[in-house]
Amino acid sequence: MPVPAWMFRAPFLTGASIAVPWFAAAILAVHRRPARIVGCLAALASVVASTTLLWEAPKSASLYEALMLLFSCLTLGAILVLPRRDCTNRTIGGILLLLGSTLLAYSTENLLVLLAAWILSEVPFVFAGWLGARTWRPLFGLLLSSLAFALAIGLISTRSETVSIVSLSGQSPGGIVAFGLLVVAVIFRKGICPAQAWVADAAGTGPAIPTALLLNGHFGALVVAKLIVPLFPRTDQLFPILSYLAIFTAVYVAIRALGENAPRRLLALVALSQSACILSGLESRTAEGTAGAIVHWFVVSVSTVGLFGILRLLEVRFGENLTASKHLGLAEHAPRLAVFFVILSLALVGLPGTLGFCSQDLLIHGALTSHPLTGLLLPIATAMNAVSMFRLFTRLFLGKRRTGFTIMADALPRERWALATGVLFVVLGGLFPMAIVRQRAIGTSTVEHAIPASVTTRSGTGGAATVAATAMRISR
């Protein structure tokens, strides 16, 4: 029987990829079903729909479809890796709600829908009894980001007659105030200095794997790519401020991670530092920097979710009091987890043989081209992050063999296949990067096209006077 043509149309596929997870979340909220199976099926449906969407999308505008596929795959992998004790209806429901919201944010071209997706993605993490952290800062950070974003969208909507992102392109709607509010929203959501502390708190006291998914939706970078760059093209003197803040965050958090001993917090700090580079690459407005940022987005997402997954598996097997202050010698108990951990760590910090090497190479070239002096801080931050990740690996996995554990299993088959897929992605991507870089380079044309020609050759830093002049120009 032939498949109806309407099933291959973008609206249906997009709707299916979003609605199926939400529907599954609703089922889990009402009925007591085997949560992992329902979650896997829903995420798989999203993966299939996103893959078809990517397949059908024109090559020059496939960025958001690729991101949808990435996040669907990450969610599927996360649900597979999730330990049995965490695999409750509530957790899987929260993850599926996050999946649907994130895909909605990636796919929409409507400001109000984007705002709704932004808020919905945070809902499970706002309630302490659901997926929320046990400290106040994550709640504060997420709420402030939502508030700033809602104000920005409200201002843009009231000042212009449309809520379509495409129609508003290049118009600087809402002026400098809307631009500032969007930047504030990005700062809070992404954990850019001075709002960096909530990320480590969320990872340290919240559920590890769902929090990793929340952080790797990269809503901050999405707003930069989807709203700030296309809507505010004349911010060539103001926009670098966000880049400077991102680079400063990368260094600040990298230094902070050097002395951290709580594995979850350490990993969150390194992930934050590395993901701050994405913003810097997007802002560089060079072909290398933009493509590097998008590829880095992929690398950071896969590595970070994988690493948090491994960390959670270790906690479940060997106790939740893991620390990086002494050698725990877990490699002898879990050698495959150790190998997965070291490969994903190396990918995260850009060592060769992994896709991270290519993304770091492109990012460093982009950042140094647009900001020769501040760009130098990027490789320095990456070097410090590499030391932190290697320290975490050596402290967790190397050292004297420990005894007294009740469970000493290495990666289970379902965990092994999920993690191996992530490792294969970063390793094969590293060996044959052009397959991914080419796609992403084409995909980034949506970002690059938003850049006016006068901006692409700018020299970098702007003084206070030029910043003020630009601010006035935008506000007009």
């Binding site: 400290t135 002395g259 951290e260 202050s325 050698h327 290519c358 140094l368 490789p379 070097a383 050292g399």
Partner: protein, 449 residues
């Protein structure tokens, strides 16, 4: 692709393929036996050695080509920037390729017996293959971009082998220390490559090193010197070398007696035409080499264990190699490297049995062997001798300077920032604890495993 080009590609890829096959078999649950692993290793490096010999036969023939170049286009490319994938075998890279292939095979055969029934047998050989792939890639590459990839692979395998005896904390901590120094110095290489792309439009050297003038040449040379000094343990980065002796003796032999320690010199040899344009940079290379040679010979005399003494003896020679490169004596440096690498490898591999030989000799003659000759340092005033001894015993205080000047400063900064992060949190358990991530105290290089 002609035969010579195919051989060059095969030589570089063979250890990588062997690594991938062995690693994949372990990942799917099959652990190959020691016999299989050593056979694969022997065949791989025998093939590589034959391949390098064939390349040498082609290039050194009276009417042979000056070099064998294989161009695969770009590894990846975005806009105007591309990462060139070029392999080259010329008169400079050939000796290094031969050294890497032959010594890796030799070390593989030696280790098959030396590490027999060691729990990490397979791990060692996996890392040996990966190291050989990285070093062959670094020596056979036709661009600094690709050199950086091989360079990093050599670095990470080196660190993982230092931490080979993972149950003891000292090797693991020393591995971390070495990793930190490698990563810090590699920043120089990455920024230098960016500068070459930015100013010269390329970082390839298959048609000669990209030439720059004036201040630009100086900047690139200094950045490359930073990377080379880190990898070759030159002053002020020499402190990591004795720490690296914690690894198994065969890996110490090939890394710190032969290949890895000379990779920095190879980098400078590749950049030598650029280096020659700047008297300042050349002078600095000579100065670094001289300081390292003096440092190495002094500290080596105060070292108590065999491997550390050998490490400093190697370092002294590498310092002299740097002087030769700085002075423009390129081929003397190449010959020097070949001699030093082979002799040191032999000495490292002999070190454990040499101790047994000495003990047997002492037992046979009933006492210790009488010292022969006089030491030059005895000619110095006694006060200066003591001062020099103290200086040499603490290895030039380089580790102390690094600890106090960089590591402690970074840890304090980290602790200070952590305080800011914890404002408003009542939990005492979340207070920052200033636990040094990298061992600050204690001496390294006591192992002779």
């Amino acid at each position: 692709m002609n035969v010579a080009q195919a051989i060059l590609v095969s030589v570089v890829l063979a250890p990588g393929v062997a690594f991938a096959v062995l690693a994949a078999s372990w990942m799917i649950g099959w652990s190959p036996s020691e016999r299989v692993v050593s056979s694969v290793t022997g065949l791989t490096f025998f093939g590589c050695s034959l391949g390098v010999a064939a390349l040498a036969w082609t290039i050194l023939a009276p009417h042979g080509p000056a070099s064998v170049v294989v161009t695969f286009g770009s590894w990846f490319a975005v806009g105007a920037y591309h990462f060139p994938l070029v392999l080259i075998a010329d008169r400079l890279s050939l000796p290094f390729l031969a050294l890497a292939a032959v010594l890796s095979g030799l070390i593989g055969q030696f280790s098959a017996t030396y590490l027999h029934r060691e729990p990490g047998f397979l791990r060692f050989f996996l890392l040996l293959h990966l190291f050989a792939f990285g070093s062959l890639l670094a020596f056979a590459c036709g661009s600094f971009d690709l050199l950086a990839a091989g360079w990093e692979i050599v670095g990470i395998t080196s660190v993982l082998l230092i931490a080979f005896f993972q149950r003891r904390p000292a090797p693991v901590e020393n591995g971390l220390r070495v990793f930190g120094i490698y990563r810090a110095c590699d920043i120089g290489l990455f920024v230098a490559i960016f500068a070459m792309h930015h100013w010269a439009g390329t970082a390839s050297f298959d048609h000669g090193v990209p030439m720059l003038g004036g201040r630009r040449a100086v900047i690139v040379c200094l950045l490359l010197l930073l990377a080379a000094a880190g990898k070759a343990a030159q002053v002020p980065f020499s402190g990591w070398l004795p720490r690296a002796m914690e690894g198994p003796t065969p890996s110490s032999a090939i890394f710190y007696g032969a290949i890895s320690i000379h990779a920095g010199a190879y980098l400078l040899l590749r950049a030598q035409p650029l280096l020659a344009t700047s008297h300042f940079a050349s002078g600095l290379v000579v100065l670094t080499g001289a300081a390292t040679a003096i440092h190495g010979t002094l500290v080596g005399r105060a070292s108590a264990d065999a491997k550390t003494s050998l490490a400093y003896a190697t370092l002294t020679q590498v310092g002299i190699v740097f002087i030769e490169i700085g002075l423009g004596w390129k081929w003397l440096a190449v010959v020097h490297i070949m001699g030093n690498a082979t002799v040191r490898t032999m000495q490292y591999l002999r070190a454990p049995s040499m101790l047994h030989d000495y003990h047997q000799m002492h037992s046979a003659i009933g006492s210790e062997i009488a010292p022969t000759g006089t030491q030059m340092e005895e000619l110095l005033p006694e006060g200066l001798q003591l001062w020099l001894y103290r200086w040499a015993f603490d290895r030039g205080h380089l580790d102390t300077i690094l600890d106090r000047g960089v590591i402690t400063a970074l840890l304090r900064a980290s602790a200070y920032l952590a305080k800011g992060d914890h404002i408003g949190t009542a939990s005492r358990t979340m207070r920052p604890r200033n636990v040094a991530p990298i061992s600050l105290h204690g001496r390294a290089g006591q192992g002779c495993d």
